[in-house]
């Protein structure tokens, strides 16, 4: 009786572990495959050759970098940082057919496309500018 119960418990545990590992692997494959399922990589003409880190690293860890460097900038006044949200916007913002700059958090734009796909809300642009200064903004 007892051994049967133990067997049942261990079987359940294996199922849970398999589920957890499966979901982790699924997330990893989504994070690595950027160009599928409407998640596109948009780089504006302002951008240089590469991002501040490897693209695959940035896809998973950009939030850590931004959070780390925001404190260095705000509290310590260190402004030459990689994790600058202003830098993200400057490089990744797109223009529409009329040459107007589209907000980076607008539908299907760089930030929002991935965040919509992964169902993660994005609070940065409650406060931060969504386009660089001194550009013509597209009507919302």
């Amino acid at each position: 009786m007892l051994s049967q119960m133990l067997k049942q418990i261990s079987r359940q545990r294996v199922t849970v572990v398999a589920l957890v590992l499966g979901s982790l692997m699924g997330y990893a494959s989504i994070a690595q495959s950027g160009d599928r399922d409407g998640v596109r990589s948009s780089i504006s003409p302002n951008a240089g050759d590469s991002c501040v880190r490897e693209t695959s690293w940035m896809r998973r860890n950009h939030m850590e970098l931004l959070q780390h460097d925001r404190d260095r900038t705000l509290r310590q006044g260190i402004r030459s940082v990689d994790g600058s949200i202003k830098g993200c916007v400057e490089c990744h913002v797109q223009q529409d057919d009329h040459g107007n700059t589209v907000a980076i958090n607008a539908e299907n734009q760089f930030c929002s496309s991935c965040h919509a796909f992964t169902s993660v809300s994005i609070d940065c642009f409650e406060c931060h500018a969504t386009t660089p200064d001194s550009v013509k903004r597209a009507a919302k």
Binding site: L24, R60, R70, L74, Q76, I78, R79, E126, P132, K140
Partner: protein, 248 residues
């Protein structure tokens, strides 16, 4: 049976540790990379940024400093936002105040903003640590952790802080602002960190405002302060503001 069970548990833990090691290295590497990269620049405690306002030069009715601040930091006329807030609610980082001697009728105008106190009351009362003073004396709000309780607004004797009551969309990239957070003059910290002067000082057409390092005895502002009679507003509170006024 129980031994078998323990074995499989150990096996699982081992696997889990291996999985973590695969996922985690990016984070560890980043920490090391950041530590090596750290430059000694940034705000320095050897400096104390301050201003001297010559109220005799400040022209009655002039609002150069206010509009410069609005354009630089994107509030008031410098922004298309805050259309729903009433004038008492709208942000006001800097304002002009006219003082009048009741006996003589003589009036003086002066700009009033965050006084960047050495012992800021707003920092004392902040429950989250959002209200903070940089080592170079500039008092700021870390809006990432501001909960909008507005204790600092109550504590400030200069009425220097504002609260944002509505969603904003037209921010400047150097001055993030958002609903539910408190804000005030930042002494144009983004410009100061690049070696420039605050916008109000730069745009003051009468030359009434002077900006500099109060700790450096050879700076223009320190020499001027040694030469002229100046005062702090509400000096009796003992907060030791970095903004000093002469001619009042």
């Amino acid at each position: 049976m129980s031994q078998d069970h323990n074995k499989s548990r150990r096996h699982f833990l081992g696997q889990a540790a291996a999985t973590t090691a695969v996922i985690a290295p990016g984070i560890t590497l980043m920490t090391i990379a950041q530590a090596n990269q750290d430059q000694p620049h940034g705000a320095s405690s050897s400096k104390r940024w301050g201003m001297l306002v010559d109220t005799n030069k400040c022209t009655d009715g002039c609002t150069d400093c206010v509009s410069a601040c609005q354009q630089e930091n994107g509030w008031g006329d410098g922004s298309s936002d805050e259309s729903l807030s009433n004038p008492q609610q709208k942000a006001q980082w800097i304002r002009t105040v006219t003082i009048r001697d009741k006996q003589t009728g003589h009036t003086n105008q002066l700009p009033m903003m965050c006084q960047h106190c050495e012992s800021p009351a707003c920092v004392d009362v902040c429950p989250t640590g959002a209200s903070m003073k940089r080592v170079d004396g500039i008092v700021l709000v870390d809006k990432h952790i501001c909960i909008g309780c507005r204790y600092c607004m109550m504590a400030c004797p200069y009425k220097a802080r504002s609260f944002v009551h509505e969603s904003l969309h037209d921010q400047k990239s150097n001055s993030p602002r958002g609903k539910g957070t408190v804000e005030a003059c930042t002494m144009c910290v983004h410009r100061v960190d690049h070696g420039d002067q605050p916008a109000c000082v730069e745009k003051c057409s009468s030359g009434a405002m002077m900006f500099g390092d109060l700790n450096d005895p050879n700076s223009d502002i320190s020499k001027k302060l040694a030469e002229v009679d100046s005062t702090q507003i509400r000096a009796d509170l003992g907060l030791n503001p970095s903004i000093r006024y002469s001619g009042i």
